[in-house]
């Protein structure tokens, strides 16, 4: 190396105040000249060096987001929200395995006879998933989460979105195995939204156990009765039934929004909340 950087330039570079074009020249030179890099070290404040190492260290052991979390961040979800979504308690292999098994059984019946089993079962999956997300049953960090300043309603909505998205994708894949039924194989979608939103909205009044239990029982009774009473397509899966499900989903969502403060009121939600 036939030349070396000026000492004043190195000092300014170390303090981040060297302006272009000298900045470019010094930077290019530093990459090739060990002597100037050594000289630069003397100009860098020790605290800044320590802070730099600390930042590097922090990046090296920072949590690596999993595939779902990475995807969420890539589509614009804030990294802290993505982490809460990915950490939703029910999104574990055991729960997802149970969902897949249920759908496989329903599809098996569908392939053999009619898609009614899939249409009746799929709406219950997010209802149950959201219900068990909202309590200590499956959330090992429930006690810590319940005293955190994060609003309960926000956490509930994040978990509801996570569960609904997952079960919708899985149920959608299950529907693809029944192409002969066309769009009718997606007849579970609106009831799923209706049941989930109704279940969550009623949770504010009846608690996280009774509300989804009543909604699930009501749905099962409706499907069973309409199957027995009608010879053709059961009522919930007709055009009128689908319209009614959409209306119920909208009304329940509106009720949920108006009741959102109840989740953060500090009072027990329904008669069963005391045991949580």
């Amino acid at each position: 190396m036939s030349w070396h950087a000026d000492d004043g330039d190195l000092r300014e570079y170390a303090h981040g105040v060297l302006a272009a074009p000298r900045l470019w020249s010094v930077e290019t030179h530093l990459a090739a000249c060990a002597d100037c890099r050594a000289a630069l070290t003397a100009h860098v404040p020790a605290a800044e060096t320590d802070a730099g190492w600390a930042r590097l260290d922090a990046e090296l052991d920072a949590p690596r987001p999993g595939p779902v979390e990475s995807l969420l961040i890539r589509v614009g979800v804030a990294d802290h929200t993505a982490r809460l979504l990915a950490a939703t308690p029910v999104l574990r292999r055991s729960w997802l395995g149970a969902v897949v098994l249920t759908l496989l059984l329903a599809v098996g019946v569908g392939l053999a006879a009619s898609p009614l089993m899939l249409l009746a079962t799929a709406p219950l999956l997010p209802l149950v998933g959201v219900a068990v997300s909202f309590g200590p049953g499956l959330d090992p960090t429930y006690e810590m989460a319940v005293v955190a300043p994060t609003h309960t309603f926000r956490l509930l909505m994040i978990r509801t979105v996570a569960v609904l998205s997952t079960t919708t994708v899985l149920s959608g894949l299950a529907s693809l195995t029944l192409p002969s039924y066309g769009l009718a194989a997606l007849g579970w979608l609106l009831p799923a939204l209706a049941l989930t939103s109704t279940g969550v909205a009623l949770t504010a009044r009846l608690g996280p156990v009774l509300a989804p239990a009543l909604v699930g029982a009501g749905w099962t009774a409706l499907v069973a009765l309409s199957g027995l009473l009608a010879s053709g397509t059961p009522l919930p899966f007709t055009a009128e039934g689908q319209g009614a499900a959409a209306a119920v989903a909208v009304v329940a969502t509106a009720l949920l929004v108006t009741a959102r403060d109840r989740f953060d009121s500090g009072r027990r939600l329904g008669p069963s909340f005391r045991s949580l």
Partner: protein, 293 residues
Amino acid sequence: MTRPPGSRPTVSAAGLALRYRGTRAVDDVTLRLTEGVTGLLGPNGAGKTTLLRILATATPPDNGAFTVLGHDPSTVRGRQDARGALGYLPQNPGFHPDFTAFEFIDYVAILKELTDRRTRHAEARRVLDAVGLADVRGKRIRKLSGGMRQRVALAAALVGDPKFLVLDEPTVGLDPEQRMRFRELIAEAGEGRTVLLSTHQTEDVAMLCHRVVVMDKGRVRFDGTAAELTAVADGRVWSSAERQPGARAGWRTGTGEFRNVGDPPAGARLVDPTLEDGYLLALGGDTPAEVAA
């Protein structure tokens, strides 16, 4: 060594009551906590955990009122502010077992509304360093020992530098060495903070606490210093060669003699009381079965 505790109340509770499964789990409890470590002693089922859950805002009381660092948890705003200022280590802390220690603390930091990634990670590193887990922060929690998991839970409680720390029996299940290490950590945590430590080990109280509250059957039976609790048993502990039917509690010691607590008969050989003797007497009429010999 903890610094002398402050005298200004940081957490105040009056007339707290909560019924749980038909019993009065907490019954008219009035407390004023100050800076430093306060021990909450009591047998199983005394209502310690229920009281801690109330003060940690995990469950609202049926009756009574309390404030945490000036915030009133009976209002939405007050509860959010109180939660932002407190750390809670529950009796059975749960973890996402597939998370590393760092990831778990990061998750807790998000729940505590530290949304900026860099700030959050710096906080995770700070609290893990504080509990001596810097070297294992990248390890999955399921691969950590019980003592290390408990330290992860303490680190989670310390996220955000809370000024009120609620610790529910944090030394249960730890071996003696881990227990000593944990006591050091709690003593450090008590510097400049209000710490409420639930325990049924009088050694914890003797080593850590500037003040002790004894609970039984949902009620406060004693509230004072450890020395005052020991003094409750002054002149009420004696040794004898035979079991003393009139003693409230009695057990054979390593010397082969019986140590008795209660109202001594005339001419009894009185011995110096310990904190445990005072605790047994503070519990009142019912002798804990496991103590009676």
